[in-house]
Symmetry: C2
Subunit: 341 residues, 2 copies
Amino acid sequence: MKKKSTIYDVAKIAGVSPSTISRVMNTPEIVAENTRQKVMNAVKELTFIPNMMAASMPRKRTNYIGLIIPDITNIFFSNLVRGVQDVCEKHGYSVLVVNSDDIQEKEGRYLKLLYSRRVDGVILTVAGYREEEFPKEELSLLKKMNIVLIDREINGMTTPIVKVNNFGGAYSAVKYLLTMGHKKIMYLAGIEGTKTNQEREKGYLAALKEAHINWKKELAADFRLDTAYQKIIQYWSQLKNSDKLPTAIFAANDLMAIGALKAFAQLKVRVPEDISIIGFDNISFSDCTYPPLTTIAQPTYLMGQKAVETLLKVIDKKKIKKSVELETELIERDSVSRWEV
Amino acid sequence: MKKKSTIYDVAKIAGVSPSTISRVMNTPEIVAENTRQKVMNAVKELTFIPNMMAASMPRKRTNYIGLIIPDITNIFFSNLVRGVQDVCEKHGYSVLVVNSDDIQEKEGRYLKLLYSRRVDGVILTVAGYREEEFPKEELSLLKKMNIVLIDREINGMTTPIVKVNNFGGAYSAVKYLLTMGHKKIMYLAGIEGTKTNQEREKGYLAALKEAHINWKKELAADFRLDTAYQKIIQYWSQLKNSDKLPTAIFAANDLMAIGALKAFAQLKVRVPEDISIIGFDNISFSDCTYPPLTTIAQPTYLMGQKAVETLLKVIDKKKIKKSVELETELIERDSVSRWEV
DNA sequence: TCGCTTTCTGATATCGATTTCATAGTAACA
DNA sequence: TGTTACTATGAAATCGATATCAGAAAGCGA
């Protein structure tokens, strides 16, 4: 590996001072045409590329932002990450992504890491599994950093947030099932501790209440495909042909809806003839399932973008809206059919 | 935002020199028990967390590594990323992930970015679309950095690489189709410029040759689901019932296999009754398709891990194997059936 | 008790940029 | 032509850690 050249090396070759090199690299317009030429030549000769790391010390900016998500492997989040990355790059920022696996303790550890790396700000999807109280140490870290929440709110906290109208989305999903004639609708729930799940649950209950429907049933899961798959298999095996079985399922996300689809394929329960399923998210595989999944679309990529835009304003101490709420959209495909009695 | 405390603040409170603070943070065992206590108290009082950014200057290590992949949104790569992240974290490294979108020009730009950030090393999936010659500027950057390739090789370059036995995997996929009685097997190709695609193609051809089968057909695509979907729709619409239609398809990756599945669903061509499909990768949705996809599994996560392990050795100038080649495994599911004549 | 280690700590230079301040040189104006 | 006002550049301090080197204090053997 060749030795890396510094601003001093360039200065020596160009016969000017290091300050001038810095000026040419950052504000070329303030240096005289012919010194600029000399410097550019020297830069080319050494193929000099400035050390951003070193620059961030006096600048007191690293131009990094941190992004904490549950799991990059989850296609919902990888989409969001891409939105974050693309906007960041446009503004000269780089993204440090870490996975909390929805575990609070990891979230805390990573927050500390991001702080020690002195990222300029953090976009945070709070972990789903957590104690009632926010740990003091983590809280003090949050106060020391520029934070924007994404996807999931924290109760009683005024941190800026970018999210989707979960209540509205869930409400319209269930409403849709109702208009299709379904009277027995089950909610396949996500991680209980997340505000996201709570809001979707409220939307589910609100729609039922409005339609004066008393039949309700929640199957507890955790947003994960395999868990949903197992829960469904288990529940249906126990209650074969019982009237406790719903005619439709509203899944708190597509991953679980797909898990359900997989379970029903194995159980030889036909979708949508025997049971209808609607998901939430519109992840990129939801049109490749069998049958293609009807779902509530979330603008995932856009959420990532908005979150960065908000964060950059926070960093630059500009005025911001405390909360950006994006709307969902019903995508009709083939996993829901009319239920005739 | 509270002011960030430095090693000097801690020193003042603890009544010792900054050097001692540094020692307590890095090599506590060499400082006397009771000064260590004093320092620890001061650290706690200020909730001091050292600035890694600043530390990396004299250390001449950033403890960052760069990871260039085509697209984080591609589930194949997001798995690999997770493998990279997990091992990195264990060794005190953080990962800076960027997306080349398989475009050489972006790859070059990001390489430069990573260099300017002075990452300790780079794990690189070379972009698929590129000119014949390796651009000089990019090449000189590669020489200045610690590089490990992953997934895709570069012709005529001795850079260490972690990959899978593509030839063998493809060969066994086609061999499997042959043993199932298929005689007309199409190859649904990935990006032509990638070594990965070339090797899989060779595996395909080798298996056919060995079986003395002359029927061959390649449908050019680009590893992407939508492209594969469109190509299939187009090809089948043109050649309805012609004997130019294969009885089985070997897709260069699962994403394209799933695109094909989607196309056939729409074309009312039954899988596997009318046509068999085998994929490559075993991405996490491949068991949720209809029918569940038979495929050649790649240890994606493991590849990420191995790449990091190799890279860390390169960074520490330890001896390494120039090339780590992992094996694939045939996963039999339901998208391939026996073909009886 | 003397001299020699060993243990522990502090002073200082350093990493590679930026930034402030000072100043030389030139232009502008009356 | 003298005063003022810019323009262009350099010198030096700074960011927050680490690392080297030197010296004080303590321990130990003879």
